[in-house]
């Protein structure tokens, strides 16, 4: 037996105006789960504690709760001292019990055709991974789109895809999915990162449904425009000024000895919109011994097409980009756009290694910048944190130059074609980010994605800066204090 203390969210609508945390100290067995802690509290300390459970073995999806803010199944998550147990983010009925029924009832069901027959093996194999869902609704509870728009949620889309694949179903699932919010998903990946069954809903359902929608002519007009632009120019944004490529040579030599050589995949946004961020990043790389090769025939990575289900020209983009770097025998390709990075890593099969700038700089270590007397908060780009599992590296860099105040990691609303296709939703999510930023009391917002930089800037009065820019400011301050002239 061991003793531990946990805090549990308590709320009785008959008595309480809002939820509060109650602390309990319990004795539990070695290896006990969160559910066992709840049982001990209910059985020996407070029989009024309400929580839902059934199978206690991860198979029924009754007991999803948040532990330290993260949704988990109470029956599978090991109990630890000091944890906080709260309901998942759905309407709370009492204590840890949330109202699952409205969401469950809205999930589509199969409507059999007459004389339905067993599908063939390849169809079964395609459907199977989508059927592991235990409808715990952890995904719905973290979905940013559900919070601000009419979207039935990730698992409802998983089910639409499962039905769309099944020849026994008579429904028009693509039209239904579009009506139920298919294009409101920002592909932030929050849903499947909390899924106890690890069902990759954005890639395996949302993007697939969007591809079906494309074939049915249901792609949003703004998304069609982006696809047309890529077809014409190879870039997903129109030219508005001098590009990054026009200001820089094909090879950038570092100031000091070469620690590493990388090819640089710029991405449309850094090449044509957030150009200064990219220039700042080059300066930081030069100061840190990174030799950068910048082949200029590279084109859009295809992410705006893949996320919106417009796959027709994606393969040719992939081929051209891969050829661009492999023909130069480049073995490591650097990305600084979170969206391009996640696409190259997850949607491409590359003969070279793909590395994000935060990974690269922390891997080789950086020259210490001067500390700036600034309080900053960091916005995790979805396609960096969840798409590439890069969470700690940006923080490691930021803490070397400014004070960091954390805020919850939530999508800013710009991804998945939502900023162009559903601007109201994107604005609503952006405003939520603005509020979180305000709560931190930070003077600047740092991030590491051009879409996030661009979008968040419209929803906060604080400056939004790229990590590279802040590092460069640290170097400039260092140079100024030393009295040495700035390197150009």
């Amino acid at each position: 037996m061991k003793e531990l203390t946990v805090r549990v969210s308590r709320f009785d609508p008959a008595k309480d105006e809002s939820a509060h945390l109650e602390s309990y100290t319990v004795n539990i067995n070695e290896g006990a789960r969160v559910l066992n802690v709840l049982h001990v509290i209910h059985d020996s300390l407070d029989p009024s504690l309400s929580f839902r459970y059934s199978c206690a073995s991860g198979q029924c999806g009754s007991c999803a709760v948040r532990v330290n803010g993260e949704p988990v199944l109470a029956c599978m998550e090991e109990a630890r001292d000091g944890i906080t147990i709260e309901p998942i983010n759905l309407p709370v009925k009492k204590d840890l019990v949330v109202d699952l029924l409205p969401t469950l009832e809205a999930i589509a069901f199969l409507q059999p055709i007459k004389d339905a027959k067993l599908p063939d093996k390849s169809t079964i194999d395609a459907i199977k991974p989508l059927k592991d869902c235990i409808e715990c609704l952890a995904c719905v509870s973290v979905c940013p789109a559900v919070a601000v728009t009419k979207f039935l949620g990730p698992t409802a889309m998983r089910q639409e895809m499962r039905l769309a694949l099944d020849p026994r179903d008579s429904g028009d699932r693509i039209t239904d999915a579009v009506r139920n919010g298919l294009f409101t998903c920002t592909t932030c990946q929050a849903c499947w990162k909390v899924c106890p069954k690890e069902i990759e809903i954005p890639a395996k359902a949302i993007e697939k449904l969007r591809a079906h929608a494309n074939r049915k002519g249901l792609t949003l007009p703004r998304h069609l425009e982006v696809a047309a632009l890529i077809r014409e120019t190879g870039r997903s944004v129109p030219r508005t000024g001098v590009t990054f490529f026009e200001q820089i040579g094909e090879v950038l030599e570092p100031y000091g000895p070469v620690k590493a050589t990388v090819g640089f995949f710029i991405g449309c946004m850094y090449n044509m919109r957030q150009v200064q961020s990219a220039l700042d990043a080059m300066e930081v790389l030069k100061r840190n011994g990174i030799r950068v090769i910048i082949p200029k025939e590279q084109v859009c990575c295809g992410s705006p097409l893949i996320r919106t289900g417009q796959l027709a020209s994606v393969d040719s983009l992939k081929q051209r980009n891969i050829e661009t770097f492999s023909s130069r025998k480049i073995d490591t390709v650097l990305t600084m756009c979170a969206g391009c990075g996640t696409t190259l890593k997850n949607d491409y099969k590359t003969p070279f290694k793909v590395i994000d700038i935060n990974e690269l700089l922390t891997q080789y270590g950086i020259e210490p910048p001067a500390r700036l007397p600034i309080k900053a908060t960091y916005h995790d780009p979805c396609h960096l944190m969840r798409g590439q599992s890069i969470r700690d590296q940006p923080r490691e860099l930021i803490r070397q130059v400014v004070d960091l105040v954390e805020m919850p990691s939530i999508c800013c609303g710009s991804g998945g074609g939502v900023r162009s296709g559903n601007p109201d939703e994107a604005a609503a999510l952006g405003s939520r980010r603005g509020e979180e930023i305000k709560k931190t009391g930070a003077e600047i917002v740092i991030t590491s994605c051009p879409f996030c930089e661009f979008h968040i800037a419209g929803h906060t009065d604080k400056p939004v800066k790229n990590i590279a820019t802040v590092l460069l400011e640290g170097y400039k301050e260092k140079d100024r204090m030393k009295g040495t002239p700035q390197k150009q």
């Binding site: 067995n29 009024s48 199978c55 206690a56 991860g58 093996k121 079964i124 179903d169």
Partner: protein
């Protein structure tokens, strides 16, 4: 006012597992149907946890005759042969329903439903969806249910049946806040599942508390073979709080081997022909014997090993097992599992006709709460088939029953309300009583039994059932009712186990010497009701 709410319908289905949902789907074609469930439909019950599979004759090379023989032999010839015949013949038809409704069972390279070998069967007859077969069935059934007009009352706990004289005319229930609700129906179907939660170590979900046995018994129904408790050979042993969690028979079906702490493949000593794929009663006793004789692991189990199988096979056929054990720190691709027997299934239950009619007019029963299908030991894979075959039959028969005038006897409602009021002024913590009950049952009514231990256990259970348990608030009332159901179910198990003075299938009486085997046994079903109890004698021997 009679109650906080009154519902009137043609068919009332109590329970939302595989049998209850199947029954409701069928009944809804014949009139207004209400399904009441103490959990969210699709999440409660044990069907959704069922892992291994569904037995059905699907191939030319197999036959219903062999399925019947296997089931009767596995059941130690205590099964009701007519129910077995129906099970074997209708299991493929009900599988056809599931397929038509969208079930995603695994298929072979030639696009036929795949089947794996399970214990005690001479043909690989067990259809499956990985090791989440029951979950696949439940999602399919709930989707079909969504397509019917069945009204769902979710998270309502039925506490007793409503009587109109000798006939059942509905049920009394509590909602999640403890409010009293009357449900009136022309026909009522009990599909409440099993009750091995009365044991300290059990595979069951939170709903496996024996409510249906207790509710049926209190209403006057007759139950048979309640001593027949299946101890599944392979339950988890670590961590302590996960003890009893099911480790599917599919692990052995896929080729898993059992070894004791000396590394011996001990099944060679118990059933050299069928080895690990012997019937569950035999394997459970073998494991229990190895552990009792000091050849167990330090966590009190034996090893179940699949490390010799290809990783891909483990990952695709046993994904739930892999995931669960990984969560508890064991990678079954590299290390053996540790397992020990766990209370799994109650073969006994309400006596039913082939149309699932119980001994009470107006009351039907299907699924685990009904007795007779599985005899003295159930074959793995026959329970899921049972839920569908008899769920449909119960729904059909109940639905076809005519409408009738229902006169609710007000006395029973007053009595019920007095019972509930008493809980609110009770003094003992239900959890303490529950733990004592579960430990007493595990110790005294487990795998190996004697009359003396059973009598002691029955005495303890009877005392516990009289405990002055306390509901801290109206929302805790259901918990008290359920605990009393557990106590009553436990007492039915002990009483039946005392009545059956022989070893048969899952029921082993160490204190009884016998010359007969299962086939020559002079005994038939044990039976219990409020008005009589005893054991049937076979006509040939009478």
């Amino acid at each position: 006012m009679l109650a906080d709410d009154v519902v009137d319908c043609h068919v009332l289905v109590i329970g939302s597992g595989g049998a209850g949902v199947r029954a409701a789907i069928e009944a809804s074609q014949h009139g207004e149907t209400v399904l009441v469930s103490k959990t969210i439909v699709g999440k409660g019950g044990c069907t959704t946890m069922a892992e291994g599979g569904y037995n059905a004759v699907m191939r030319e090379a197999d036959s219903c005759g062999i399925h019947i023989e296997d089931t009767l032999k596995g059941g130690a010839y205590l099964n009701d042969p007519e129910l077995v015949r129906i099970l074997a013949h209708e299991a493929p038809l009900r599988m056809g329903d599931l397929v038509k409704w969208g079930a995603v069972f695994d298929v072979t390279d030639t696009d036929e439903i795949a089947q794996r070998p399970f214990g005690g069967q001479r043909f690989p007859r067990t259809c499956y969806a990985g090791d989440r077969t029951g979950h696949e069935m439940m999602t399919t059934l709930v989707e079909r249910l969504d397509g019917t007009k069945v009204s769902l009352m979710q998270e309502y706990t039925v506490i007793d049946l409503l009587m109109d004289g000798e006939a059942v005319c509905g049920a009394m229930a509590l909602d999640e806040k403890g409010r009293f609700v009357l449900l009136m129906a022309d026909s009522t179907i009990l599909a409440t599942g099993g009750g091995t939660k009365v044991y300290d170590i059990s595979t069951n979900s939170s709903s496996g508390t024996g409510d249906g046995y207790a509710i049926g018994y209190r209403a006057g129904a007759e139950l048979i073979d309640m001593e027949m408790i299946q101890f599944h050979p392979t339950g988890a042993v670590f961590p302590y709080d996960a003890r009893g969690r099911l480790v599917t028979e599919a692990v052995r079906g896929e080729g898993g081997v059992l070894r004791n702490s000396m590394g011996e493949r001990f099944m060679q000593n118990y059933d050299p022909e069928r080895l690990e794929l012997s019937t569950r009663d035999v394997v459970a006793r073998a494991i229990a014997t190895e552990i009792l004789n000091g050849r167990g692991t330090k966590n009190g189990g034996v090893y179940l090993d699949v490390t010799h199988l290809p990783r891909e096979q483990i990952e695709s056929r046993l994904p739930v097992m892999l995931e669960q054990f990984l969560k508890f720190g064991v990678d079954i691709r590299i290390h053996p599992m540790e397992v020990a027997p766990t209370a799994h299934h109650i073969m006994g239950g309400l006596r039913i006709s082939t149309e699932c009619q119980t001994t009470l007019p107006g009351l039907f029963a299907c699924g685990e709460v009904a007795g007779g299908v599985h005899g003295a030991n159930r074959l793995g894979g026959n329970a899921l088939a049972d839920t569908q075959v008899f769920g449909r039959r119960a729904g059909l028969a109940a639905g076809m029953t005519g409408k009738r005038e229902k006169a609710v006897d007000l006395m029973q409602i007053e009595q019920q309300q007095d019972r509930l009021d008493a809980f609110l002024s009770g003094s003992e913590t239900p959890a303490k009583v529950r733990v004592q009950l579960q430990q007493a049952m595990w110790k005294g009514a487990g795998i190996f039994r004697t009359a003396a231990e059973l009598r002691d256990t029955l005495r303890m259970v009877t005392n516990l059932s009289k405990a002055n348990i306390r509901a801290a608030s109206p929302q805790n009332l259901a918990e008290c009712c359920i605990l009393q159901n557990m106590c009553l179910t436990a007492s039915l198990i002990c009483r039946s186990a005392l009545i059956r003075e022989e070893s048969r299938g899952a029921h082993v009486r160490k204190d009884v010497q016998q010359k007969h085997d299962a086939q020559t046994s002079p005994f038939g079903h044990t039976f219990l009701s409020q008005s009589r109890e005893g054991i049937e004698r076979r006509e040939a021997d009478a």
